[in-house]
């Protein structure tokens, strides 16, 4: 049960996503039309919390993670095209169906068959990337 921390944080994550209505297509359309502070407040408070929290965690150099490995700031792979292009493609899909990976799983948990279909599509999408990646600009 060394995976218990992951399971528990996942439960909290999914719970909060739904309670904050970050999973709601309606909230997303509201957000993309700048009609409320709601989603921006959510993202802003999460980023600030994450920033402070990660600073605290990273400053405790030497204390290992639950797996015993040292905790270090993750490095994003270099690239000039992958971030803007991948972002645009992802964002377009997100704007259409109002679900991104976290909410997809959370809404599957809520019993949404539609979300299950989205999950199926997303899994195929990740497979498709794998199949095409050597042909894509990064």
């Amino acid at each position: 049960m060394r995976y218990l921390p992951y399971l528990l944080s996942g439960i909290v994550f999914g719970f909060l996503l739904v309670k904050a209505e970050a999973v709601s297509w309606y909230r997303l359309q509201e957000m993309f039309h700048l009609q409320s502070f709601h989603m921006y407040g959510l993202i802003l408070s999460a980023v600030i919390t994450g920033h402070i929290g990660s600073r605290i965690v990273l400053q405790r150099a030497g204390r290992p993670s639950v797996e015993g490995t040292p905790i270090a700031k993750p490095v994003k792979p270099p690239g000039r095209f992958r971030y803007p292009l991948g972002g645009l493609i992802f964002g377009f899909g997100w704007g259409l169906i109002g679900l991104c990976p976290g909410p997809i799983f959370a809404m599957v948990g809520s019993g949404s068959l539609g979300a299950l279909l989205v999950l199926g599509g997303a899994l195929h999408g990740t497979w498709l990337y794998g199949a095409l990646q050597h042909r894509l600009p990064h």
Binding site: F13, W25, Q35, F92, W94, P101, M107, G121
Partner: protein, 117 residues
């Protein structure tokens, strides 16, 4: 494990501890949605106009999912990975990704979604 937990958390929040109120989006949003031909939210988090299982919606949901999955892997992150973690860690790649994620979402929400009722 984390994904499994997320599913469980979603179940807890949406079913066990279900919110009795509908999603309280702004008045401007309600006007906009009804203007597009959508019913205002009345207790569901996801619009039946898109999430009810009609043939068109099947294409839309799966296709949208493909875009999300493909784009996430291509960009090396999603709204959580880049939008929250990446910004929290002040990573420049994430700042670019987030700008483009929002641009993509704005495009979809302004150009395509109004026609989806």
């Amino acid at each position: 494990m984390f994904a499994t937990g997320t599913v469980a958390g979603g179940f807890l929040a949406a079913v066990v501890f279900q919110n009795p109120f509908p999603v309280l989006v702004s008045g401007a949003t309600l006007d906009m949605l009804t203007g597009w031909g959508f019913q205002p939210p009345s207790g569901e988090l996801l619009p039946p106009e898109i999430f009810a299982l009609t043939p068109r919606n099947l294409l839309l949901l799966i296709g949208g999912g493909v875009l999300v999955g493909f784009g996430t892997r291509y960009a090396g992150g999603c709204t959580s990975g880049h939008g929250i973690t990446g910004l929290a860690l002040l990573q420049p790649q994430s700042m670019i990704a987030v700008c483009c994620i929002f641009a993509g979402g704005m495009l979809a929400s302004h150009l395509v979604v109004p026609r989806l009722h």
